[in-house]
């Protein structure tokens, strides 16, 4: 539960994201280090949903943060650095998946079999989350990607469309389907 404060990080831990991103874009590696520590957990979880194994997740996330460092000067809204990191991570993750299996299928996920995740302790909530997790895994790739970018990355339809090279109307359709499928699988229409 407690995130142990390792290392000689300065008191940047209370600095807002926007300040850290601005500083990092001007070459402040300590500010970038703080962003890295702050957002790695959620970015990893996001990438893990896409690539499915921890080893690959760590490689992809590392690559994503390096890309972020190189492209920081292009970040228009420093306050939105979290969503921007998600966008980069998603791009890296899907590039990775594509490289791995050129004929994309839905199998190859070992997450379901991964014993580390979601210990049964916090029962009720986890039952719901497990159902959702399973529902997410059965979505077609494009729908899952749209869904994750929208609901977890907080990207707008337009941003998702740019990111995935799809018309906005298609993104809208994917999201409506994803939302309906997930809801049906979780509880059915009442």
């Amino acid at each position: 539960m407690d995130d142990d404060d390792d290392g000689p990080r300065s008191d940047l831990s209370t600095a807002p994201d926007g300040i850290l991103a601005t500083r990092a874009s001007h070459g402040d590696t300590e500010a970038f280090d703080e962003l890295l520590h702050r957002h790695t957990p959620i970015v990893r979880a996001f990438v893990y949903r896409i690539v499915g194994t921890l080893a690959e997740t760590d490689d992809v996330v590392q690559e994503a943060f390096l890309t972020a460092w190189r492209q920081l000067t292009t970040l228009r809204d420093p306050d939105a650095v979290r969503a921007w990191l998600m966008k980069i991570a998603s791009r890296e993750a899907y590039a990775h998946v594509k490289k791995r299996r050129p004929h994309a299928t839905l199998d190859g996920f070992d997450r379901a079999a991964d014993p580390h995740l979601l210990p049964e302790a916090t029962a009720i909530r986890n039952a719901q989350l497990n159902a959702l997790s399973a529902a997410l895994d059965t979505l077609p790739d494009a729908q899952r990607r749209c869904w994750l970018l929208r609901e977890v990355g907080s990207l707008s339809y337009t941003e998702i469309a740019e990111e995935m090279n799809l018309p906005v109307s298609t993104v809208r359709g994917h999201l409506a389907r994803a939302r309906a499928s997930i809801t049906i699988r979780m509880e059915g229409w009442r």
Binding site: H26, G27, L117, L129, W147, A180
Partner: protein, 196 residues
């Protein structure tokens, strides 16, 4: 497989329509949907799917074993290797055969560290304007900062200006004519809710 979003509720609305309404932030107010129990149930279920997805990822984030200790260091080593040092600022040396200089990046780091030491202040962007590569050229410094709630903005800006002027005078030979401090932001004194 049929498209689940095309599913039509008994009241006649499709799931797709309700999904759109939800995405639009339930505006403009649709009395048909807002007074139909079936629509409201669906609306509820659909919005729960979004909320739970964020929870799921947060739960994943907590449950995933941490990256190895070396992982963070690995990223930062690669980051530092690509650091942009900026221009080279000459420093005079008693021995004329010695070419001494400090990088622009190091001066920025000095400005940030100095400004941060003023209570409640975080320096954001900093800029060194003028021909720094030319000894004695007039230089001005521009910087933005964020100040914590409740801190006197004018006093904070003055504090930063004074501290940065002193630090630059001590550690560089720049002929600093002006230091412009622009307070861009106000931040909460504690970090935004990020943990647990």
């Amino acid at each position: 497989m049929t498209d689940p979003s095309a599913h039509r509720l008994d009241c006649g609305k499709t799931v797709d329509e309700i999904s759109d309404y939800l995405e639009a932030g339930r505006t403009p107010f649709d009395p048909d949907i807002e007074t139909c129990p079936e629509c409201l149930n669906t609306l509820d279920a659909l919005s729960r799917a979004g909320r739970l997805s964020r929870e799921l990822l947060d739960a994943d984030a907590r449950a995933l074993p941490e990256p190895s200790a070396g992982w963070f260091e690995g990223v930062m080593t690669a980051v530092r290797a690509e650091m942009r040092a900026g221009r080279s600022i000459p420093i005079s040396h008693p021995d004329p055969r010695v070419d001494a200089s400090v990088t622009e990046g190091a001066v920025h780091a000095l400005i940030r560290a100095t400004g941060d030491r003023v209570r409640g202040v975080y320096v954001g962007r900093s800029e060194i304007i003028g021909d720094v590569e030319q000894p004695g050229a007039p230089i001005s410094i521009g910087l933005t900062a964020s100040v914590a709630w409740g801190v006197d903005i004018r006093a904070a800006a003055d504090g930063v200006r004074t501290a940065v002027a002193a630090a630059l005078a001590t550690h560089t030979e720049l002929d600093v004519r002006a230091i412009d401090v622009e307070i861009h932001d106000v931040h909460r004194p504690t970090p935004p809710e990020e943990r647990s």
